[in-house]
């Protein structure tokens, strides 16, 4: 794809998807929606934290001798 092709592709994309106007504003106050989420959804540990915990428990179960090492690094 040369520079001319690149520019014509960009131009076509701009025509297909017009740019958003400057400084758009939400149609409503979103603060109540934020507060609602804060009330409804308690913080969930990410899946990675659960996977890490599972891995550590598995390690401790299969290799009990690793427990002192784990405790040392906690």
């Amino acid at each position: 794809m040369n520079t001319h092709d690149d520019e014509s592709m960009k131009q076509l994309l701009r025509e297909a998807l017009p740019a958003v106007e400057d400084n758009p504003e939400p149609a409503r106050d979103l603060w109540p929606a934020v507060l609602k989420r804060m009330d409804e959804r308690p913080p969930m540990p990410p899946w990675f934290d659960w996977a890490l915990l599972g891995g550590l428990v598995g390690l401790a179960a299969f290799f009990p001798s690793a427990i002192p090492v784990l405790l040392y690094y906690l």
Partner: protein, 190 residues
């Protein structure tokens, strides 16, 4: 002199709000929300191109921001951090099936809005271009829409996506190449 003193006072208050927010203060969080709500909404709207979805994702972004308050570093500023969280919220939304429904948004093109030589053909080409664009992987789509359509600085896009400027350029290049291939398969030569 008075202006300088006022600016200094504003700066001090702003720092106090950032520090209070870092400790989980909801009032300080509301002040930051009021200050940055519009900018975050605008950034999200540029990516998802649907006002109702952008409003929903703005609320989601600020919820995520509050959840992450303890990890906030006041020295690095709030705006860039918020934009990064907003970008990830938009990416998550695009990856979900929800994005498929909102793609026929009011922000997609209006064929009658632009004078062209052959309106029927041009309208079809634009429709197919928009449809092909929606099939791109979300991370390519976001880079391309922000860089090409919205013409945002590459540095800002890079910071928001957590990648280098070179990586942004590469994503835009890949997006355009995939788009061109898709259109050519449909018999359209851009």
């Amino acid at each position: 002199m008075a202006t300088g003193a006022q600016a200094s006072l504003d700066e001090q208050q702003s720092q106090e709000h950032l520090l209070a927010f870092r400790h989980g203060d909801v009032d300080a969080f509301e002040v930051l929300f009021r200050l940055h709500q519009r900018a975050v909404y605008g950034w999200i709207l540029r990516m998802v191109r649907n006002p109702a979805t952008a409003e929903d994702l703005t609320a989601e972004t600020f919820w995520r921001i509050y959840q992450a308050h303890a990890r906030f570093d006041p020295a690095r500023g709030f705006e860039g951090w918020a934009r990064r969280i907003a970008t990830h919220a938009a990416l998550d939304w695009m990856r979900s099936r929800k994005s498929e429904r909102a793609l026929t948004s009011e922000l997609s093109f209006d064929p009658a809005a632009r004078p062209v030589e052959d309106p029927a053909v041009a309208a079809e080409v634009r429709l197919k271009t928009a449809a092909a664009f929606r099939k791109l992987p979300p991370k390519l789509r976001i880079a391309a829409v922000l860089a090409v359509v919205e013409q945002q600085p590459h540095k800002e896009i890079a910071d928001a996506l957590g990648i280098s400027v070179a990586a942004v350029k590469l994503r835009v290049f890949r997006a355009l190449r995939l788009l061109r291939k898709d259109l050519e398969r449909q018999g359209i030569r851009p």
